[in-house]
């Protein structure tokens, strides 16, 4: 069973080649008893509230003036005109079931990847199917509905995430981009609005300070400080109010979830939060250590001092500290490298053929230095 929303089936009218959808040529509307035989363009609409079918003219007649009870005897449910729609399936029961499944799937939209094992995923699907079955067969409808609602409140964010992933997969890249642009625009708007508010607040505060200065004639500094304190307090209050509201929401969600109909899913994979990327290291874990010197901030040698003052050197961003560092590295680079030993080692390890020559050459050593 696919967990994605059911794709919209092509309208039956196209397949039939007839306007008006399913049903034979002599279908009658249960309300006004008009048949298609007499009126070729008769269309039947159905309301997902009670799944009673009636012709379009009846719908217009009865519900154009607002919500009204269903005209079918024994069904007095209030129906609204905008909820009427074309029937997709021949069997109304199938239509009803499909709608229920769509609703449930919108809430329980976890995927196989979210579960640790196949068994857990199947258990989850089983539970979901139980709910669907209850709703379809009208068993414990109220309780099941409550469970649905509770689950939806408790996992609002995850449902959203899953819905978003599903939607993303369907949408093309260009559409994604358009969406992002829109969101960015909205965020910018929100930010601008906040900025405006802040600016207004600052203005108000300033006016307030001025008026206070005028009124009390007290020392300017104290008034200014007072004004700052007021502003700060206002900002804190606003933030505190926002935080409190968010907390209340969370508390309500938790409380709603702690009903008798608590939906517990077992076997979910623990979602590992991706840790933030480390800053790029250009040397890839390579470090340079100074063993012989410590770079100082200032060298009094006149070459350095003159270069620091010379505009031609400093205008381009040249750093005299770099020159000092290079000089010091050059001063000690190779101090602990004993050429004779290391070269002998290298020759011995590298080419075994050369060993005899080196040994023989010791007897041929020259005294020359030139």
């Amino acid at each position: 069973m696919s967990r994605l929303a059911q794709p919209k089936a092509s309208p039956v009218s196209k397949r039939d080649g007839r306007i008006g959808g399913v049903g034979g040529p002599d279908e009658i509307c249960p309300v006004c008893k008009s048949s298609r035989y007499l009126n070729a363009s008769l269309r039947f609409l159905v309301n997902p509230e009670c799944y009673h079918k009636m012709c379009e003219s009846c719908v217009d007649r009865i519900f154009s003036h607002g919500p009204a009870p269903c005209p079918i005897p024994k069904c007095g449910r209030t129906l609204r005109k905008h909820r009427f729609r074309e029937q997709t399936f021949e069997d109304l029961r199938v239509e009803r079931e499909v709608d229920i499944r769509k609703k449930v799937a919108a809430v329980f939209n976890k995927r196989e990847e979210d579960f640790g094992s196949l068994r857990d995923y199947n258990d989850y699907l089983n539970d979901v199917e139980d709910i669907t079955f209850n709703l379809t067969e009208k068993i414990d409808v109220e309780q099941t509905e409550k469970r649905l609602e509770a689950y939806r409140q408790a996992n609002a964010r995850e449902i959203e995430d899953n819905m978003r992933t599903a939607a993303e997969e369907k949408q093309s890249f260009a559409q994604l981009q358009k969406l992002e642009r829109q969101q960015a625009r909205q965020r910018r708007e929100a930010a601008r609005r906040e900025e405006e508010e802040e600016r207004r607040e600052v203005e108000e505060n300033r006016k307030d300070v001025l008026s206070r200065l005028q009124a009390t004639g007290a020392d300017a500094e104290t008034v200014a400080k007072e004004g700052q304190r007021v502003q700060l307090r206002k900002r804190m209050d606003r933030q505190a109010a926002q935080d409190r509201q968010r907390q209340l929401q969370a508390a309500e969600d938790v409380r709603a979830g702690n009903g008798s109909s608590n939906f517990v899913i077992k076997g979910l994979k623990a979602k590992v939060k991706a840790e933030p990327e480390a800053p790029i290291d250009p040397f890839e874990n390579l470090r340079f250590a100074n063993t012989y010197y410590e770079l100082q901030d200032n060298y009094i040698w006149e070459g350095i001092q003159e270069a620091k003052k010379d505009v031609r050197q400093t205008a381009g961003g040249y750093d005299v500290g770099e020159f000092a560092r290079r000089s010091l590295v050059a001063a000690f680079s190779g101090l602990g490298v004993f050429v004779a030993d290391e070269v002998a080692e290298r020759d011995r390890v590298g080419q075994d053929g050369e060993v005899s020559t080196v040994r023989a050459a010791i007897g041929v050593r020259d005294m020359e230095t030139g």
Binding site: N285, A331, G334, V364, G370
Partner: protein, 382 residues
């Protein structure tokens, strides 16, 4: 996995260490090998030319080295004539020395090579002078200068970086001046008594000895002040720089020691108490590298000290050697300009080879056509 590189590791990664550093034994072996190869070749073309005294009058190894050294001096003079910075001088001299590790003076006499080496060095060290102007100022034809360039690059194994001690010397100067003023950075692992104490100790340093090269003299009043110390440091720096400019280039120290050791050896020769004091602040007393480092610096200083300018060939000596060289040199490399031009043009045999290949390809194509469709009815076309 963090890898830490010290300054020594940085030096070990350079081509100067990898390709152009030798122990005294391996250096001698290399030179001997080159000399003998040239002698072999000399016997070959000596017998070809039926020269009676060609074999007897070859140059000995020592004479070859002296000739090379003479031309190192010539490069230094020419570079000073052009007023180029000291880096060009050092690089050019090292290029010449490295060239003659794998080539003999009989094959490429230094007279024809040293101008190109200097030109190459001025290009490498970023003081490029245009070729026509360079050729004009040393009164040589431009082709003659360019002719051996590729051979030189091959002999250098295309490694053009020469690590020099001059910048390091400036670094040491900067640090010592700061130390004299009481600002000093603390090195890990070395016990010093703090910056102020170091400054005081500096003031109490003993005088430089007789054999020290520095021109500085203690103040007659006998009381040392900070400005006297500063003068002393600057004098030691100039003396060390002069040592690096002359003896260091005209001996083999670049092959046998690292540039850091060379500069500290030059400083050691210039002003021994000052350098010992400076090294004491850098090398912890307990480390086992310390005696080895000090020993290496002392050995290098010995080489620098035992050098004197009268070891260099005089003009007459050089002319004499070159006359003998003329008789026994390799005739194949006599005309470098022609060889260079030929190499640039490409040889005749290449052309003929191409023609031959094309003809063979055409015939093969025809034959394949015959195999497929059978021979043409009216006989072979073309």
């Amino acid at each position: 996995m963090t890898q830490t590189l010290t300054e020594d590791d940085l030096y070990r990664a350079s081509t100067q260490f990898r390709l152009w550093s030798f122990s005294p034994e391996s250096l001698a072996v290399l030179r001997q090998k080159t000399h003998e190869l040239a002698r072999e070749r000399g016997r070959q073309y000596g017998s070809e030319n039926n020269d009676a005294d060609g074999m007897a009058d070859h140059l000995s190894k020592e004479e070859e080295l002296q000739l090379v050294q003479r031309y190192c001096e010539q490069i230094r003079t020419t570079s000073d004539h052009f007023k180029w910075p000291v880096q060009v001088k050092a690089t050019a001299v090292q290029y010449l020395r490295r060239f003659y590790l794998s080539n003999s003076v009989r094959t490429y006499p230094p007279k024809e090579v040293y101008k190109t080496v200097l030109f190459l060095a001025c290009k490498t060290e970023a003081t490029h002078m245009a070729l026509p102007e360079y050729a004009r100022r040393i009164s040589t034809a431009p082709e003659v200068i360019l002719a051996p360039e590729y051979k030189i690059m091959q002999a250098l194994r295309f490694t053009l970086d020469v690590r020099q001690p001059y910048r390091g010397l400036k670094g040491v100067l900067m640090e010592m001046l700061n130390m004299a003023q009481g600002m000093v950075g603390q090195v890990e692992g070395v016990e010093t008594k703090g910056a102020k104490q170091l400054q005081q100790d500096m003031l109490l340093l003993e005088q430089p000895g007789h054999h020290d090269r520095t021109p500085w003299k203690a103040p007659s009043s006998g009381k040392m002040e900070v400005k006297h110390i500063t003068d002393r440091i600057n004098a030691a720096y100039s003396a060390a720089k002069a040592l690096l400019d002359g003896p260091a280039l005209l001996t083999d120290v670049y092959f046998l020691y690292t540039s850091s050791q060379i500069l500290l050896a030059a400083l050691h020769l210039a002003d021994e108490p000052l350098t010992s004091f400076y090294l004491n602040t850098k090398l912890p007393l307990t480390s086992d590298l310390r005696p080895r480092i000090l020993g290496t610096i002392a050995a290098c200083a010995d080489i620098l000290q035992t050098f004197s300018t009268d070891q260099i060939l005089t003009k007459e000596g050089r002319d004499g050697l070159e006359a003998r060289l003329e008789k026994c040199r390799d005739p194949a490399t006599r005309d470098l300009v022609k060889a260079h031009a030929a190499a640039k043009r490409g040889s005749e045999s290449d052309e003929e080879e191409k023609i031959r290949k094309r003809k063979a390809a055409r015939e093969k194509h025809e034959r394949e056509g015959d195999d497929f469709f059978g021979p043409s009815i009216g006989g072979k076309k073309g």
